[in-house]
Symmetry: C2
Subunit: 144 residues, 2 copies
């Protein structure tokens, strides 16, 4: 029996440090090229989400991270202009490396203050839900 | 730019009630035909995960549920013999309906005791992680 088509699956990382703040990358490619975003990307087939998260962070920021926990799953149909993309978002802490951009990231940096930063996708909503920005609400916008 | 192939995405529901226990369905189709499992299924493109969860529960059990929270994301590559499938698992409570099997479910029932029930996929591991079965561990088995 063929398996039905399902949304694309991504992971994103909220990497925090009490002294340095939070890591964002500046997107090299569309959509939202030039905008700041959480490090992340598509999950490979045969790759666990936690492994995908650590790999994407390594590729885009040069940092080695450990997963602290799952922050939520964001799945609203219109959250990615390329097509329906569901993201599992993990809270991470740094266990090695220093910030250096790579791969899809034109830049990577610690932000102690997110005021005035225009974020890609629904990443402002994700950060708000975790209390890093004002105006937090529950993940997908479709919850009862 | 073409989007990379990612794992298939499903949702599963842990529906609990303090008096009646937990709802399981008996699978009509392979894999694990005849085995008990959490209600759930594939997420449709353009459908939020929470909506997919409520829809699958309605189709398989006749129950209307509300989402209480996200229990976790299970993503180990070998958890579904049909191919890599990642499941977002939601804790749910019943807000309407009575248990009546439908769709992919040959049977649906409340279980006050899961002792001796052989579960499909990694659903025993999922229930253990939530404390419904002994031997709980973190989601994907790949966490640091």
């Amino acid at each position: 029996m063929p398996r039905p088509a399902t949304p694309a699956l991504t992971v994103d990382a909220v990497i925090t440090d009490p002294r340095r703040g939070l890591v964002l990358i500046r997107r090299r490619n569309p959509p939202f090229a030039g905008r700041w975003a959480l490090p992340g990307g598509f999950v490979d087939v045969r790759e666990a989400c936690e492994d995908a998260c650590c790999r994407e962070v390594r590729e885009e920021t040069g940092l080695e991270v450990a997963i602290c926990g799952l922050l939520g799953v964001w799945s609203r149909a219109d959250r990615d202009p390329r097509g329906h993309t569901v993201s599992a978002v993990y809270l991470c802490r740094v266990v090695g490396g220093t910030v250096a951009s790579g791969d899809d990231a034109a830049e990577a940096a610690w932000f102690a203050d997110l005021g005035g930063v225009s974020l890609a996708f629904d990443h402002a909503e994700i950060l708000a839900s975790a209390g890093f920005l004002p105006g937090g609400q529950a993940p997908s916008g479709s919850r009862p």
